[in-house]
Amino acid sequence: MNIYTDLTNKFNAGRVRCILSSGQALVLHGISLMSKDGDWIVREDDEALNHILHVLERCGARCRFGAPLDTRWLAGGWSSHFEFMTGKLRIRTDFVSRPPRISKERLARIWVEHEKSALPFVDLEALADLKKTNREKDYAIIGELARRITDVESRLLYSRSAKDILELYARHPEKTRVIMKERGITQKMLEAQDALEAALDAERRMLMHANERRLSRYAEAAHAWSEIWNDVARDVGGLSLLAAHTRIKERAETVLPYAPAEGGV
């Protein structure tokens, strides 16, 4: 067991409260692109968040600058961040309840699917959507994830390789046309590898810029909170995590909006 699967088990003792995401989920899908930090989709209810805070308190965690682990901010797409040391290892735990690019309906289905999972981690399709970030390297990961998807339509939806798509087009022309149309790729583009590659590059750029705009909105909305964070950190110094978190919530209520302008996620 590694620290992140161990933490997932503790967070989910008695009930599934969170789903392992990002780098640690990639590991569980057999791709060794690890992250130093753990990232979870958390259930947006008070019992779940309170349980996780208690687990983190027992670990000796502290709150990093971020949103409180509270349904009001999480519902606005914010993320919460904690850190602790175990031996010589720095462990970071990051939480969201509204992962980007995952609709409410789909998120609800994900929770139902994982209701009885022993070790819940995000599936290939959701992971591919989460990886539609502003980082170039994440699109290579999406390309690899797509190759592991067995459903043809889903594979077409996420594929980053023109050659893979053209191979699928030869075998499933109608399905390919329909799915590619959803991605803004015309039949004419499907007739020439160069045109398809250019369309995939343009799509990647568009997705990267969309994520940049999303993160910029949060950075702007968090500006006032960042201005007082040093004072907040001094204010809670020496307090237990639970006491500190309560105080941080009170301070955040004065400056950190529950959702950024323009609706957030």
Binding site: M1, S79, H81
Partner: protein
């Protein structure tokens, strides 16, 4: 003409699927230990969530 497949990740990255759970965990733990060397460099950075364009105020 030889068909050359697009490559996204290295063979090492993909070989992970062939490991047992114990081997995978051992590798993850080893990697995490090695990764501690960069703690000073990413002390105020975020790898997930909506604060990735920000640094933790110090």
């Amino acid at each position: 003409m030889v068909f050359i497949r697009d490559e996204f990740l290295s063979e090492d990255d993909l070989d992970f699927a062939n490991l047992s759970e114990e081997e995978r965990d051992a590798w993850c733990n080893y990697w995490l230990q090695l990764a501690q060397q960069t703690n000073d460099q990413d002390a105020d950075a975020y790898s997930h969530g909506v604060f990735m364009f920000m640094r933790e105020p110090r």
